[in-house]
């Protein structure tokens, strides 16, 4: 009886749990957005003073404050902004542009860059980690682990500047910066290479170490030893026995990287002039532009939540499959 019921009940349970997690994350996001409004309030100056011009009188700035709705209590402004959220209305910037307009191409651009970097990170770190794990303590293992530590310690901007100098300004192989087209996206795909690499390299350092460690852990499992004793070739043991077991840890590592990729994007986008959300966010903080900051936070928060949820699901599924 019980055995038979499992296939139908498991998806339902999974769905319920997913639903609960989504609700939890949504609440968390709302709290985060409230924090954004509260924090901007604590910063010295406000959007009215930030966008006012020299020579404006206190009355002029007060008028700006009124026009921007800053004379309302912060709670009310937060509530106004939140109530627009379900309809996709992210409010208006301090300079009168719709926040959705400011983010409509910038956010997809950042997702494209971040996604590309994540994909590259996943591929490179898994391949390098496996290669190193094939012969633990061997020459390859020492080289990969050693350089992973070195690369991990490099900040994105150092990598970015080095890449611009070597692959663009000195050699002329790739464009130095990204320039956007009439549709707001990078004018050519080659412009994506350098920023993606600048984001990927430090993250590969981090993830190679995780992959390598996870594989080493898994290699000590009894069933792996059995496979080795059965005389299976090392690469087959790696791909069919060790790697699947290490997947949950590797996925969790990559999920953590997503956050760091988004954070690193702010720096990398500036250096490569990449038309992403990083530059929008940086200037919005300077302008104390709460609706814009909150808009960026809401979208990035949603994406981060989605990625973490996906990582949880992958972990559950792979772990479940092995149980």
């Amino acid at each position: 009886m019980v055995e038979k019921a499992r296939p139908t009940r498991a998806p339902v349970r999974l769905l319920a749990r997913t639903g609960l997690v989504v609700v939890k994350r949504a609440v968390l996001l709302a709290v985060l957005l409230a924090l954004v409004f509260g924090t901007v309030e604590l910063l010295p100056g406000d959007a009215a003073t930030a966008i006012s011009e020299r020579g404006e009188s206190a009355a002029d700035t007060e008028e700006r404050r009124r026009l921007l709705g800053l004379d309302q209590p912060v709670l009310e402004r937060f509530w106004d902004w939140m109530s627009g959220l379900p309809t996709g209305d992210l409010g208006t910037s301090a300079r009168g542009e719709k926040v959705t307009d400011l983010l409509s191409t910038a956010f997809p651009n950042t997702l494209l860059l971040g996604g590309l970097a994540l994909l590259l990170t996943a591929l490179l770190s898994t391949v390098l980690g496996c290669w190193a794990a094939l012969r633990p303590g061997g020459r390859v293992d020492r080289a990969v682990s050693g350089s992973a530590t070195a690369v991990l310690a490099l900040p994105e901007f150092v990598v970015a500047v080095a890449l611009v100098l070597t692959l663009s300004l000195w050699t002329g192989w790739l464009p130095a910066v990204t320039i956007a087209d009439a549709d707001g996206t990078p004018a050519s795909w080659e412009m994506l290479i350098l920023p993606a690499l600048a984001l990927t390299i430090p993250q590969v350092g981090w993830n190679v170490r995780i992959v390598r460690a996870a594989l080493a852990d898994e290699a000590r499992a009894p069933y792996v030893e059995t496979a080795v004793l059965d005389g299976l070739p090392p690469h087959r043991v790696l791909t069919h026995h060790v790697l699947p077991g290490a997947l949950p840890t590797i996925t969790a590592g990559l999920a953590t990287s997503t956050g760091m990729l988004l954070g690193g994007a702010v720096v990398v986008e500036t250096i490569f002039n990449y038309p992403g959300v990083g530059s929008v966010l940086a200037s919005a903080v300077t302008d104390r532009d709460s609706p814009v900051i909150a808009g960026v936070t809401a979208l990035s928060g949603a994406v981060m939540s989605g990625v973490l949820l996906l990582a949880d699901l992958v972990r559950d599924l792979t772990a479940g499959a092995r149980r």
């Binding site: 910063l43 010295p44 100056g45 003073t49 930030a50 966008i51 006012s52 011009e53 020299r54 020579g55 404006e56 009188s57 002029d60 700035t61 008028e63 700006r64 026009l67 910037s93 300079r95 009168g96 542009e97 400011l102 191409t105 910038a106 611009v164 663009s168 300004l169 002329g172 464009p175 130095a176 910066v177 320039i179 956007a180 087209d181 009439a182 549709d183 707001g184 986008e269 500036t270 250096i271 490569f272 002039n273 038309p275 530059s279 929008v280 966010l281 940086a282 200037s283 919005a284 300077t286 302008d287 104390r288 532009d289 814009v292």
Partner: protein
């Protein structure tokens, strides 16, 4: 935050181009005699922040890229010039009443919007009233109430100032963009302009503009201009070096130094672009005694400041703001370093040299914080201990500006002595940065702006500058050049400081 802009009146300052040596590169970005060639697309990089984008010609434009785009599409009544510092644009001519209060601007013949309709006085009145109604309106059109903007016939606009003001045409530069009457805020981005270029597309701060063949203002050579927004000068310099853009507008001294070794890159120096004076509070506090301020002016090593803070891309100044004004008084003795005299003055004033004084600064513009640091090192040699405190921009403008005893400030409009007098030095001026009150100065100012005759006016302006030189709260050690970098094919770039750099209608490409 800051409205930077302006022009100079010194034709002699037309800049030399080229790198470190005197050898000219293949061409010259400015002032060359070759016959302009028609055609081509000029790719211009300009600074801007993606979150601060605005499309409103009467909005607060923080982005140089936005302002560049707007000023190519829309025309202002007058524009900055070389000599004189005001040139006609949409207003072909102007005339004042005897009391210098009523000004009549006549519209240029053949001026048309990009949709083909003729520009009327009603359009200009609508635009000026729209500008006046913004929160920045009172400072952009000082002394002009909304009700005192009116049309006279179809081609004349009348502005009546609350007080005599010989500088009104100067104030009509930079922000008086004209749009068709009745344009709503919702449609502002689509409003046709009258300028040398028409908008092809705009997206995320980048834009493509195409030539307006019907422009009333003369021949335009370029087929199109593409404006690219850059968040950092470094990225913009990289783009120029990698030939992704043709001009890096206002890219700064650091980039110019990097590009010095490249023979195919031209450096355009625009003198008198930026003033970064040190403000010493005169109203009260440790610097209220004029002798103390004089001592600091003698303790600073101006040559060293220009060399180190501006990488040599600048000129030594003499504590008078408005260095690009044709009426700037060059006959006043240049202050140079005199540490003995400085110590003596400090002693006379009973200045407490045992204390450490804080100098507030920001990193708003390149070189500002560096100027504070070097200044602190220099005045220490005269026995004044100064500690530099770097503030985040928002904090600085909120807490320190107009209030602090000692801080750095910066100004981008440097072609008018009267501009500074009216904004920052007259007793009741709104941005009296040093809290300076000087009745003789106030009288001299009022007389100067109420005088139409050129000779008398120049004499009054000299008097004004003498008082400022002797006792104002400013220490102006030097003037930074504006620096653009350009590829070798680019010709006809403007050499004006400030927002004079946006006048690209004369630019052309030799390729």
């Amino acid at each position: 935050m800051l409205w930077v802009g302006g022009a100079i009146g010194a034709g002699a300052l037309l800049t030399a181009c080229g790198g470190a040596d005197d050898e000219e590169p293949t061409g010259s970005a400015t002032g060359d005699s070759a016959k302009p060639r028609k055609g081509g697309t000029l790719r211009v990089g300009a600074l801007g922040r993606a979150g601060a984008i605005t499309r409103d010609p009467h909005g607060t434009q923080a982005n140089e890229s936005d302002y560049l785009i707007l000023s190519l599409i829309y025309d202002t009544l007058t524009v900055p010039g070389t000599k004189p510092n005001i040139e006609p644009r949409l207003a072909a001519s102007w005339k004042a009443s005897d009391d210098l209060k009523t000004w009549r601007f006549t519209i240029a013949k053949g001026a048309k919007f990009h949709d083909g309709s003729a520009v009327t006085a009603e359009d200009i009145v609508f635009s000026l009233k729209r500008l006046r109604a913004t929160p920045a309106g009172a400072s952009r059109l000082p002394g002009i109430q909304e009700k005192n903007i009116s049309a006279e016939g179809t081609d004349t606009v009348v502005l009546v100032s609350d007080y005599a003001n010989a500088e009104l045409p100067l104030l009509a530069r930079l922000t008086t963009f004209v749009i068709p009457k009745g344009t709503t805020d919702k449609d502002i981005a689509k409003a046709p302009g009258t300028g040398p270029f028409k908008l092809d597309w705009f997206r995320g701060g980048n834009a493509r503009l195409v030539r307006n063949d019907d422009w009333y203002g003369g021949d335009v050579y370029l087929d199109a201009i593409e404006v690219k927004i850059f968040e950092s000068p470094q990225a913009m310099a990289s783009a120029l070096l990698a030939d992704q853009i043709d001009v890096a507008s206002n890219v700064g001294a650091v980039a110019a130094r990097t590009a010095e070794s490249r023979k195919d890159i031209q450096t355009v120096r625009r003198p008198n672009d930026m003033a970064m004076p040190i403000v010493m509070r005169t109203a009260d506090g440790p610097f209220a005694d004029a002798k103390v301020r004089e001592a600091l002016r003698l303790a600073v090593d101006r040559e060293a400041m220009v060399k180190q803070v501006l990488s040599g891309y600048g000129t030594v100044a003499n504590d008078i703001l408005g260095t690009g004004d044709p009426a700037y008084d060059k006959s006043l003795p240049q202050r140079t370093r005199d540490l003995d005299k400085a110590r003596e003055l400090l002693k006379e004033a009973g200045f407490d040299t045992s204390k450490t004084y804080e100098l507030y600064t920001t990193e708003d513009i390149s070189g500002l914080a560096e100027s504070a640091t070097l200044f602190a090192t220099q005045v220490r040699e005269a026995g004044v201990k100064v500690k530099v405190v770097k503030q985040e921009s928002g904090t600085f403008w909120d807490k320190t500006w107009l209030k602090g005893d000692l801080y750095t400030t910066y100004w981008g409009t440097n072609d008018s002595v009267v501009f500074f007098a009216s904004k920052t030095m007259v007793s009741d001026s709104g941005q009296n940065e040093a809290g300076w009150k000087n009745e003789t100065f106030d009288t001299a100012y009022e007389e100067a702006i109420g005088t139409a005759g050129a000779v008398e006016r120049t004499a009054l302006l000299k008097q004004l500058q003498r008082i400022e030189y002797d006792s104002s709260g400013y220490l102006l050690w030097g003037m930074a050049d504006g620096i653009d970098l350009a590829g070798s094919a680019v010709h006809g770039l403007p050499t004006l400081p400030g927002y004079g750099r946006v006048q690209l209608e004369q630019a052309w490409l030799a390729r």
